[in-house]
Amino acid sequence: MSQYEGEKVQNQMTKSAGTTRRGFLKITGSTCALLFGLGGMEIILPRSPLLRPPGGQDEANFISRCLRCDRCRSVCPTHVIGLANLSDSILEARTPVMKFHLGFCNFCHQCVKVCPTRALQPFDIKTVKIGVAAVKQNICIAWDSGGCMVCMNACPYHAITLDRQNRPVVDSQRCNGCGICEKVCPALVLRSYIGGKVRGIEVTPLAKRGGEAHE
């Protein structure tokens, strides 16, 4: 081994450094440009808040830790965790987001348990808030023609009540964004919208106020 090293040092000393230095600078420069460019772009570009799995509501903490390893998405028993993609933002592509048209959150902690970097942090089931459900009045069947109470009956937290005209209203204090209302909403099926994601009630991310989940 020492023989190799000795010869290598000799070789290094005798060679002309011109071409190698250029190659070296090329690698350094392009890596710097690429990584700091990508990193800087993400800080400058506006980002709309996304619905993270429970425990990932502190967005700054989440994004600094998420390795995009796919474990939380994979382990989720209700398949509500999906992947963000490039159209959400370059930074967020491949990170986990809640897709409530596919499932709902039962706060089982599985995703937090498998998260290797604590991007998803242990949460208190009583205070955690993924988002808040909001009725989309132009799509909701009850708001249009009345009679539908599917979301109210499904809500395990009694966060949906009916107003005088029997239209659903969300109590934002009680709602923790579990998304079961969005999952069961029959507006798409009954009203023949195009695209599988249209619902009369949707969980919306809490406004960009980091750490809201701990309130």
């Binding site: 290094q12 070296f24 690698i27 994979s74 992947l83 498998v114 970097t117």
Partner: protein, 294 residues
């Protein structure tokens, strides 16, 4: 035609590793990808990702530290086996370009040490003389890899998130497969399915020596493998053509992805860069290179 059994075996182990990730993703087993692969709360976490998230969040979890140290110890013990046998990048490169790793020149190996081989060697001598100066950038692999590693960690610390993960070819190869699964399973067509593979292709085609000169994960592993003393190829100098007859062969060096000159140590790669791929042993016309196994 392709008699290189080790290469076939390596491609098979890489495909198996990627296959495990894909099966885990389809079965929703929670096993994860190369970024973190494991069961329950025990996982092998990408050591580069560990460093990136540690500097980005200014915090390190005990589980991450343990995984990091275990990977460091395994790499010190076995060398950069991950690069040669598990990482999907060489497999994808083989599929894309049909080139074997990053050999300095794709020397088609007919490993027959016969009279025919010697005529090949003589031709070799002429072609080699062209590229002798290019190969003289000794010890540069290690340095450029370390620079990329430094910038990777620096950018994470400054920007506050693991920036390199966005373009990591290992991550994007898995991401492409995941996007495909999402498309089939949930009918989610996305641009990711086009753009991720394009980034991987760009990285592997434009940065031809990705594994040896660019990859920061490989550079990190090469720091650990500095302590590696096992599974090292040994040249039997009594069999080597260069020693016995006056031929400038260097086939072992040109077959090596990392330009390791195991005979004279004058290549750009250090012996600790060896990924145990056995390409040198397969390329040697005199079968003078031995690995501790087989």
């Amino acid at each position: 035609m392709n008699k290189n059994k080790t290469r076939t075996l390596r491609m098979a182990t890489m495909a198996t590793a990627t296959g495990l990730v894909v099966v885990g993703a389809i079965r929703n087993a929670g096993t994860g990808s190369f970024s973190a692969f494991g069961i329950e709360n025990v996982a092998a976490i990408c050591p580069l990702g560990t460093l990136e998230t540690a500097v980005a969040s200014r915090d390190i979890m005990p589980t991450m530290l343990i995984s990091f140290l275990v990977i460091a110890a395994l790499t010190a013990l076995l060398g950069r086996v991950f690069c040669g046998w598990i990482c999907p990048v060489p497999l994808v490169r083989k599929i894309l370009t049909n080139e074997i790793d990053e050999g300095q020149r794709a020397v088609e190996n007919s490993a027959a040490p016969s009279a025919a081989a010697i005529t090949i060697l003589e031709n070799e001598e002429k072609t080699k003389s062209f590229r002798a100066p290019a190969g003289s950038d000794a010890a540069r692999n290690y340095q450029s890899g370390l620079v990329v590693l430094g910038i990777t960690i620096g950018s994470s610390a400054i920007c506050g998130f693991p920036v390199f993960c966005l373009i990591c070819p290992i991550g994007l190869i898995v991401a492409t497969l995941l996007a495909l699964i999402r498309l089939i399973h949930f009918n989610e067509p996305t641009f990711d399915l086009v753009i991720f593979p394009l980034v991987v292709v760009a990285e592997l085609m434009l940065m031809k020596k990705w594994c040896s000169k660019w990859c920061p994960a490989g550079a990190l592993l090469s720091i650990f493998s500095k302590f590696n003393r096992s599974l090292v190829p040994v040249v039997d100098r009594s069999l080597c053509r260069e020693e016995s007859s006056d031929i400038h062969c260097q086939r072992c060096r040109s077959a090596c992805s990392f330009d390791v000159d195991i005979k004279n140590g004058s290549g750009a790669g250090d012996i600790s860069d060896c990924t145990k791929c056995r390409e040198c042993a397969e390329a040697c016309p005199a079968q003078a290179i031995r690995f501790p196994w087989r």
